[in-house]
């Protein structure tokens, strides 16, 4: 397939997705369902980043909840402060109940909308950068990295629960406005959905550019043969850090959008279990493809909502089974099944994940 056809295909797919998200979805879905889809889109944005870091880069990041949570809590702090401003209070409602009279110092900067947006854009990425430098430069990898990223998620959730000024285990909730717009107004809710959809499209576009650039090739090379890449004169640590920081950046954005759409963020949304749960959609869709993680995350989130309504405890079993079956027996996910059908490629190649997009490119 020539690059021209490939480019045209990508544009067609992109336009189709845009039409679906911006025209079809608002027309056919009720206000409630559209809001729900907005929430799923937030998970899909996280999934794109995980696909990049884990599927392409081989970094099993079990701590995306941290970056998601940083984005979410920064946004939530800003929303709480503006709500308090509207009422004329110095501190958010939950703090005055707890008897706190003055805004804690780390809350103060986020009174400003500009600082809030900059914080959402840069703080998760910065945390990822610091951790990435600390870990990858010292060639800590594989299981060590997975466990460290998970420990980070645990420490973060424990920190949030322990602090009274972050709402403890209740988290932050009951937001009334979003940068001055009333969150109860259906028109504003729809706008939020459009923003989330737009961010998803942008994130997918950025990731596509990354994947099909020289950098993308390098990232896959680092995943498969890190030592060879080092011998060629590249620093694999830098390659990994770019993917890891991008994934954190995406997760932070998703968290910030999650807050006004869902209306609550608590340690339950960012701890170990949700951090690992982010992975299941990515694994099911196909971790090393571009769209697999998006579709997988949307599908899993939808299944969770419908299934857990009917069988509250059944969902946990389903989730556990999915991890076992998909990761254990179909490591390339649904995308891998398609690849198997179109091409006889052994799935049990040691340590390798079938790279659907790449394989299609060759022909």
């Amino acid at each position: 397939m020539s690059t021209f056809v490939q480019q045209r295909r990508a544009w067609l797919g992109f336009a189709l997705a845009a039409v679906l998200l911006f025209a079809v979805a608002p027309a056919v879905l009720s206000e409630f369902r559209l809001n729900l889809l907005g929430k799923f889109i937030c998970y899909a944005i996280v999934a794109v980043g995980i696909g990049l870091a884990w599927g392409r880069g081989g970094m099993l990041t079990l701590g995306q909840g941290v970056f998601f949570g940083l984005g979410a809590y920064i946004m939530a702090m800003h929303l709480k402060i503006s709500d308090a401003d509207l009422r004329g209070d110095a501190v958010p409602d939950f703090m005055s109940i707890a008897g706190i009279r003055e805004l804690p110092s780390y809350w103060v900067p986020f009174a400003s909308p500009l600082v809030t947006i900059l914080g959402i854009l840069f703080i998760p990425a910065l945390v990822a950068l610091v951790l990435g430098l600390g870990v990858f430069k010292r060639r800590v990898k594989g299981a060590y990295f997975a466990i460290l990223s998970q420990a980070l998620a645990a420490a973060f959730a424990i920190l949030l629960v322990g602090q009274q000024t972050t709402g403890g285990s209740n988290g932050l909730n009951r937001f009334r406005t979003f940068f001055g717009f009333d969150l109860k107004d259906p028109a504003n809710k729809q706008m939020l959905f459009f923003i989330a959809a737009g961010v998803l499209l942008a994130v997918v576009a950025i990731t596509r550019q990354l994947m099909y650039s020289r950098y993308g090739e390098l990232l896959v090379a680092v995943r498969d043969q890190e030592e060879r890449v080092r011998f060629l004169g590249y620093d694999p640590a830098n390659v990994k850090i770019v993917a890891y920081v991008s994934a954190a950046f995406f997760a932070g954005l998703a968290g910030a959008l999650f807050v006004p759409i869902v209306g609550i963020v608590s340690p339950n949304d960012v701890g170990i279990v949700p951090s690992i749960a982010f992975l299941i959609g990515v694994a099911i869709g196909g971790r090393s493809t571009l769209l697999g993680p998006v579709l997988g995350a949307l599908g899993v989130a939808w299944a969770q909502t419908t299934l857990s309504e009917q069988f509250p405890s059944g969902w946990t079993y389903a989730q556990g089974l999915m991890f076992i079956v998909v990761v254990g027996f179909f490591p390339a996910g649904v995308a891998g099944l398609f690849a198997l059908r179109s091409r006889k490629k052994a799935a049990d190649e040691p340590g390798a994940v079938i790279d659907v997009e790449e394989k299609e490119l060759v022909t």
Binding site: G134, A143, I147, L148, P331
Partner: protein, 294 residues
């Protein structure tokens, strides 16, 4: 002075619990390279074993010793079953074992919730463990001393088993060079299963010990698992000696930081310190020296 002694002993006590939870992991993760996230649920199984045993033999202190033995076999059997059904298929994919066993863990947790109910249950510790002992002005609960002794016994037993028994020799041989071990007539399949049995059995013992200091719920294992993994990482893979030092160092560090700040801040500080520590020694305290590039 008594504050220092008190914190020191709290640290030793936290350390001994970490060590019990991590000892099994130093076998399955450290030696075999399998990241078993269900290890926490094996700990939970041990705790519920203690609960069930107590329901059956409600009389007195003997139930603790019965529980320790039964707990070892319950944990071990679960581990061996997991090895035979899933893990044996994925020795060359360590990161995927992490996710698969996480799925197993989710299912086991939900099973426990469905069988024993969501509220936590309590195991009554035997009468001879009630009260405390005065050590240099600090009162130390007897249960904690018992756990410390139990941890020491487990370490000694495991070290002895690995160093002196034929099975220990087989385990070490398979870990060091699977092919060569096969050539010398060792069944690596059977050795893998027994390694897993012992490692998971130790998780069961840890679970029984945990019932002495807290109540048992379906998430009891999860809260210790991450710390246990960190112990193995800091100690260096496959090193019992490393795990022992790391567990007590982390426990004492934790108790002293916790004393001057709060429990949640202490967790974060300890995590940051571990990342710093890995800067200096990426392979942990005691590295297995190899000629490999990584």
């Amino acid at each position: 002075m008594d504050v220092v002694v008190g914190q020191l002993f709290t640290g030793l006590s936290i350390g001994s619990i970490l060590l019990l939870a991590a000892l099994g992991l130093s076998l399955t993760f450290g030696q075999m390279g399998v990241i078993n996230m269900a290890h926490g649920e094996f700990i939970m199984a041990g705790s519920y074993t203690a609960y069930v045993v107590q329901q059956l033999f409600s009389t007195g202190g003997a139930s603790l010793f019965i529980s320790l033995i039964v707990g070892f076999f319950v944990g071990g059997a679960m581990g061996a079953l997991l090895e035979v059904t899933l893990i044996r298929r994925m020795y060359h994919r360590p990161l995927d074992t992490l996710l698969v066993t996480f799925g197993v863990g989710l299912i086991l947790q939900q099973c426990a919730r469905d069988i024993f109910g969501a509220p936590a249950v309590n195991v009554v510790s035997p009468g001879w463990l009630s009260g405390g002992i005065d050590i240099l002005g600090a009162v130390v609960p007897k249960t904690r001393i018992f756990i410390l002794i139990l941890a020491v016994i487990c370490v000694l037993a495991l070290s002895f088993a690995l160093a002196k028994t034929p099975m220990g020799r087989r385990i070490r041989a398979v870990v060091q060079n699977r092919d060569l071990a096969e050539t010398s007539g060792i069944s690596s399949r059977r050795t893998d299963i027994s390694t897993f049995f012992i490692g998971s059995g130790l998780a069961g013992v840890a679970g029984v010990a945990l019932t002495l200091i807290g109540s048992t719920s379906s998430t009891v294992g999860q809260s210790y698992l991450i710390d246990a993994f960190l112990v193995v990482v800091v100690g260096g893979l496959g090193q019992i000696k490393g795990a022992v030092i790391a567990a007590f160092a982390l426990g004492i560090l934790n108790s002293f930081i916790e004393y001057s700040t709060t429990a949640s801040i202490a967790k974060v500080i300890v995590f940051v310190l571990i990342v710093f520590f890995l800067q200096a020694r990426p392979q942990g305290l005691f590295a297995v020296k190899t000629r490999s590039l990584v």
